[in-house]
């Protein structure tokens, strides 16, 4: 199923024209064929990662990648670290908790410091929307956004698109329901951009207190009724609900949220019979998603998303460092 979805290289512009960006700051900067190009490139890394003991390619040998995470993260950091190492790069992690950021150094000064260390790529996560763009404007090497505030989390959207494509054979013409805390979610924003761009019908299903203003201007249909929102969906994409949203400010309680918006087997039955269930993790079992839905291998793609995450990040690191590595056609 997967090989049929990969386009031949001749479908893309030659060399560096296939992906013209120096950084990956958001899906908003990408064209549909650039997204497709990354997904196709990721397929080979899926194969390598599954190929047994020797999961190593030395395409990025000698390159230094800094993962600068100003916000706590376990899985995304790990995913980027593994991606870099599988490509043979030297990967260094910088945690904000241990850094001079806590001592009052400005973000720009931190960026200049990283730049002076001659990184070949910097992966950044930051709690403030736009922070990654700010750093990208100041450094000489490619910058990858690993999540900035509520703004974007492009590699998550790419790995989700790859997961859908591999499961359902395509990632166009589908009905996809994104459910939960859309207001505070960068995963939702990047996915809305990517999935609408690729030609899917995207729905947003959320309590009215967690729907961003002017949501429909991003070409989605908005539902506050979960059953109606899931009706006929090919993909049900759940979002993580932060505990602090459920203390009364946005939602009355976890149990009320579960009653109205939790993904139960009964609710999932509203979607298409073969609909898949996605979640970026980490899950709040029993709140936004029931365990028997999350753990159903026929429906749930949650572990596959994690696997695709490594492959997509390998593809992004490979593509963005081709100019540095003087890959023919990339200058």
């Amino acid at each position: 199923m997967t090989s049929a979805t990969i386009r031949p290289a001749s479908d893309y512009p030659p060399g560096g024209d296939a992906f013209r960006h120096r950084h990956l700051t958001g899906i908003a900067q990408l064209t549909p064929w650039e997204i497709s190009y990354i997904l196709d490139a990721a397929e080979q890394w899926v194969e390598l990662n599954r190929a047994g003991a020797a999961k190593h390619d030395d395409a990025l040998r000698g390159l230094t990648i800094i993962n600068a995470f100003f916000e706590n993260s376990t899985r995304t950091l790990l995913s980027f670290e593994i991606a870099g190492k599988r490509l043979g790069a030297d990967v260094v992690n910088m945690h904000a908790a241990q850094s001079s950021v806590k001592k009052g150094e400005t973000l720009i000064d931190t960026a200049m410091t990283l730049n002076a260390m001659r990184a070949d790529a910097i992966v950044i996560r930051h709690q403030s929307s736009g922070a990654v763009q700010l750093i990208a404007d100041k450094v000489d090497c490619p910058v990858l956004n690993a999540g900035d505030g509520r703004h974007e989390h492009p590699t998550q959207a790419l790995l989700d698109a790859l997961t859908i494509r591999r499961r359902l054979g395509r990632v166009e013409g589908l009905t996809i329901a994104i459910c939960g805390d859309v207001l505070h979610s960068r995963v939702a924003r990047s996915n809305i951009l990517a999935l609408t761009l690729l030609g899917n019908e995207v729905r947003v299903v959320a309590p009215p207190t967690l729907i961003p203003p002017a949501m429909e201007r991003m070409h989605v249909r908005v539902f506050t009724d979960m059953d109606a929102g899931l009706d006929g969906a090919d993909v049900v994409m759940m979002l993580r609900l932060q505990n602090e949203r459920m203390d009364g400010a946005y939602l009355p309680s976890p149990r009320e949220y579960h009653a109205l918006y939790g993904l139960t087997p009964q609710r999932l039955a509203k979607a298409k019979p073969d609909a898949i269930v996605m979640h970026p993790g980490p899950m709040n079992r029993g709140v936004e998603i029931d365990s028997n839905v999350a753990d159903d291998p026929a429906r749930s793609t949650i572990t596959e998303q994690v696997e695709m995450g490594v492959a997509v990040r390998m593809a992004c690191l490979d593509i963005l460092t081709r100019r540095t590595r003087k890959v023919p056609g990339w200058n």
Partner: protein, 405 residues
């Protein structure tokens, strides 16, 4: 040094008819005088416009180079540019901060520490030179406190200058609700936060009869309320800065922190409503909102940057653009920039009438120039108009008949 009489000749007075203006002993003596003192210093304006110096209502810093560049001769200083101006001694010191070449009129903090709880010593601050009372960057949340501030200031003959945003709706917000804020992932608040604050304060004005000025009104809904209140004869006025007349929230795209303002930039519909309100007289004051911010405050992620723009240098040029675009006449522009704010502050200034202080500017209204954040006279170049081609600038400035530029 003895001050010679000043005669400006061949000038278009307020951008209108060509004439002459005589100032003697620091005051305007006559338009088109029959007799000119023999020792008068004669200035040939060569057809440039002669206007009263700009009275900039509500600035956050005494930034003389920027004010001189912008033709601003009087600056009404907000009480929260630095430490709150809530004490007579601080007001007195702030008032002296412009000497000798700039009038600074401090605005007294309405409440102690601008905390919105206890009345500040408004009477003593008036005696120290405060010309009006202001709530600062935020409104007074407690309606009871606001009511007492209004009646107390009114009894002293002072207008209260208020900020208009409902703090509940705007808590944590850095932009106006809309597609731009949603796409950028910025916390935003509905535009009606402004009208809600205006509605409350208009009720207080209706009940107390106390004069109130909203420093910045930027939305259609709030302007409608003010228009209606004025029609009923309530003592209400309002102002705006050029940012909300020329920019909408699309300007915050790419997370441009120079476009992070308070109140935040609004929708294109609201911007057009502001232009209509400038034209129909609902808006009384055009001010710079001058709030220079260095990179430590602006070169940050959008939500972490502080709001504010360095507006003093672009105020006149943007005002002239309103004239060129046909929204206002030149005479009305100088009402917005000088006469109306001077009246609000109780100053003998702001017009070219006989007896007024001879605060004057010559304006070359047509010369094009480009706004450049890196080459500003202000101590910081945080202008949302960076790179914009504009026309017109002050070429000469007099304060009390004394040439200062």
């Amino acid at each position: 040094m003895e001050l010679k009489p000043l005669l400006v000749e061949n000038a278009r007075l307020l951008g209108g008819d060509t004439g002459r203006l005589l100032a003697v002993d620091g005051r305007i003596a006559a338009r088109d005088p029959a007799d000119v003192p023999a020792d008068a210093e004669r200035v040939d304006a060569k057809g440039q416009w002669l206007a009263p110096g700009i009275v900039d209502l509500g600035v956050f810093a005494t930034d003389k180079p920027a004010f001189h560049f912008g033709g601003i001769t009087r600056a009404a200083l907000m009480p929260d540019g630095g430490h709150p101006l809530d004490h007579p001694g601080m007001v007195e010191r702030a008032a002296k901060g412009g000497k000798p070449d700039l009038w600074v009129h401090p605005l007294a903090a309405a409440t102690k520490g601008l905390a919105g709880k206890e009345l500040a010593e408004i009477g003593l601050m008036k005696a120290s030179g405060a010309r009006a009372v202001a709530t600062g960057r935020a409104r007074i949340a407690d309606a009871g406190v606001m009511r007492r501030v209004l009646v107390y200031a009114a009894s002293l003959g002072l207008t209260v200058i208020a900020h208009a945003e409902d703090e509940g709706l705007t808590a944590g917000a850095v932009a106006t609700d809309g597609e731009m804020a949603t796409r950028l992932g910025l916390a935003s608040a509905p535009a009606i936060a402004e009208a809600m604050a205006v509605a409350r304060d208009l009720m207080l004005v209706r009940e107390t009869g106390a004069p109130l000025h909203f420093r910045q009104i930027t939305t259609a809904a709030a302007l409608d309320l003010i228009r209606e209140a004025k029609a009923k004869g309530l003592p209400v006025t309002c102002g705006i800065t050029p940012a909300h007349l020329f920019l909408s929230d699309t300007a915050i795209g790419d997370f441009r922190t120079f476009a992070r303002l308070s109140p935040p930039l609004r929708s294109e519909e609201d911007r057009h409503a502001c232009l209509a309100a400038i034209a129909d007289g609902t808006i009384d004051v055009l001010a710079s909102g001058h709030d220079p911010r260095g990179p430590e405050d602006k070169r940050l992620p959008f939500a972490e940057a502080l709001p504010g723009m360095a507006g003093a240098e672009t105020l006149l040029a943007m005002g002239l653009q309103l004239v060129r675009d046909g929204h206002v006449t030149p005479a009305r522009l100088f009402d917005l920039l000088a006469a109306n704010p001077a009246k609000l502050l109780g100053l003998d200034a702001g017009t070219l009438a006989e007896g007024m202080d001879a605060d004057l500017i010559l304006i070359d209204e047509g010369t094009p120039w480009q706004v450049d954040a890196k080459k500003m006279a202000a101590w910081a170049g945080n202008t949302p108009f960076d790179g914009m081609p504009v026309q017109g600038r002050a070429t000469a400035v007099w304060k009390g008949g004394q040439r200062i530029r």
